[in-house]
């Protein structure tokens, strides 16, 4: 375990754990609200912001955060106002975000060497600055969810009832969308834009099969995503495989095991 003494490896573990906390909590809400595809679209849209930040010489994570929050608010607004356009727009945003990002990266002089790492993640290249940014985003997500948890749980369960009891459903929904966007940005460093959606939903979906209460689901989801991330970092180091895909593979394996336990339990009941 000499590897633990290296700074880059410690950084990777810290960022992995930080991202797992946000992913487990927000992922649980995404899974019970059944908006995985909206989240996937937001993740891909963030690439547009990344490209623009790259072009302007800003920190890519800041660009991705701004752009994905704006996309999330747009999609959230449309999905509440017009069900007819929702599906097509989710798909369009997915691709347009990528297109914007690629054009701006193309326009930026010089070699875009770390482009690949944003698409598929490269947690072993984490810098101190990344850690601070991601920790900051993490704190925003954690505090928001802690404060508004009951409201999120209520509007996901029954929007009509909440509206009739004068709860501001649209405002909370858009707020939740913005938190999903921030979480996605936190996770880009870990697994990359293309794989984000799997790490956001797989641990939470696994947890959902194994626990009946929301608290239980969130705790297990954080646990599973932390395990997948940490185990993935170690495994990829020793196998010399790319980290993001290994993390996703472990998350998928956990889901499969959870699924087997789930059907076994059901058989015992019925």
């Amino acid at each position: 375990m000499d590897i633990l003494t290296y700074q880059f490896f410690q950084n990777a573990l810290i960022v992995g754990l930080l991202a797992s906390v946000a992913a487990g909590i927000i992922g649980s809400l995404v899974v019970i609200k059944k908006i995985s595809f909206i989240s996937g679209s937001i993740a891909h849209a963030s690439f547009g912001g990344l490209g623009i930040a790259y072009f302007l010489g800003l920190h890519p994570i800041i660009g991705a955060a701004v752009f994905s929050v704006l996309s999330a608010l747009g999609i959230g607004w449309v999905s509440k106002k017009s069900k007819t356009h929702e599906d097509a727009l989710i798909g369009a945003l997915w691709a347009v975000g990528m297109a914007v990002g690629l054009i701006f990266i193309f326009l930026t002089p010089g070699y875009a060497g770390d482009l690949f790492s944003y698409l598929f993640g490269n947690i072993l290249l984490t810098t101190q600055q990344d850690i601070l940014l991601i920790a900051g985003l993490d704190i925003i997500v954690l505090i928001s969810v802690a404060l508004f948890f009951r409201y999120f749980l209520a509007i996901i369960f029954d929007e009509d009832f909440c509206e009739v009891t004068n709860i501001r459903v649209l405002a909370y929904y858009l707020f939740l969308m913005a938190l999903i966007a921030l979480t996605v940005v936190v996770m880009i460093k870990v697994v990359g834009i293309i794989l984000v959606i799997a790490l956001l939903t797989l641990p939470a979906a696994t947890a959902r099969m194994l626990s009946k209460s929301m608290r239980g689901i969130i705790l297990l989801a954080v646990l599973f995503s932390s395990f997948a991330t940490i185990a993935g970092i170690f495994a990829s180091y020793y196998l010399n495989w790319p980290t993001g895909p290994v993390i996703i593979f472990i998350a998928a394996a956990l889901y499969f095991i959870g699924f087997l336990i789930h059907i076994r339990k059901r058989k015992l009941i019925h």
Binding site: I32, L147, R150, Y151, L153, A154, I156, F157, D158, D160, F161, C162, E163, V164, T165, N166, I167, R208, S211, K212, S213, M214, G216, I217
Partner: protein, 256 residues
């Protein structure tokens, strides 16, 4: 005895698509003691009418007064039980939390549920006969039990008006009678509007029936069966007598 109506609609129209009115000049009054069955074909505007009364939709024209104020202003005194089909049966929440949700809109932002709130929620659960299922996850309850939890969530607000959208679809025939007994109890302190496509089930319990088929025709009186039968014919739905063997005398029923 002359009473003020608690709901009054004057010439209310609403269209989702321009020039196609789902509600077309609806006039309607509801009084405090009423137990109204709202029937009508699919697409006839039943849910739209409810949404207008609840302030979820703003009518294109006409006037609407609910409990002496606007629909939105009246919300504190309305209990709403939405269509059951929209509820995620597997949602990770227990019965008590669902009932407390009824009070969430009254809370100041970020304040916790008080002991008083919890007592009220427990009382509402007791009222619907579900006190012992307080800590059950809703996924572990039967359809009828879940429906009672949703009613408790509406009752916890101490409403003067209870609105139920298609509640009977989830109630099995065996518990149907108990379900309506519960509503009759509630009717002593609140007016009730119950939407149903199954006229047969509700006919024995309601005191008025309204048929919503773009226009609304209201029937009431002693002979509720006759009124329903007449509604059924204006409403273009098939009505099969539920409790009485009503032989056909379509034009001879009383109605005032």
């Amino acid at each position: 005895m002359k009473q003020e109506p608690i709901i009054e609609l004057k010439n209310v129209s609403y269209a989702y698509v321009q020039n196609y009115n789902v509600l077309d000049g609806v006039n309607f009054r509801l009084y405090q003691e009423d137990f109204l069955g709202l029937i009508g074909p699919n697409g006839g505007g039943k849910t739209t009418l409810l949404k207008v009364i609840l302030g979820l939709l703003k009518p294109d024209s006409g006037e609407i007064t609910v409990l002496g104020t606007t629909p939105k202003g009246a919300r504190d005194n309305i209990g709403y039980v939405p269509q059951y089909a929209k509820i995620d049966l597997d949602y990770p929440i227990d019965a008590f939390q669902v009932v407390l949700m009824g009070l969430l809109g009254n809370k100041r932002l970020l304040s916790r549920y008080s002991d008083k709130d919890k007592k009220r929620a427990e009382a509402a659960l007791k009222e619907v006969g579900m006190a012992q299922f307080k800590n059950r996850q809703i996924g572990e309850l039967s359809g009828g039990q879940r429906q009672r939890i949703l009613i408790a969530r509406a009752l916890v607000r101490d409403p003067k008006l209870l609105i139920l959208d298609e509640p009977t679809s989830s109630v099995d025939p065996a518990s149907e009678e108990n379900f309506f007994k519960l509503l009759e109890q509630i009717n002593k302190k609140a007016a009730i509007i119950i939407v149903s496509h199954d006229v047969g089930i509700i006919s024995g319990y309601i005191s008025k029936v309204a048929c919503m088929n773009r226009r609304l025709s209201l029937h009431m009186g002693d002979d509720i069966e006759g009124a329903i039968e007449q509604s059924a014919s204006t409403c273009d739905i098939e009505y099969i007598g539920h409790r009485l063997s009503h032989t056909s005398h379509n034009n001879s029923h009383k109605h005032d």
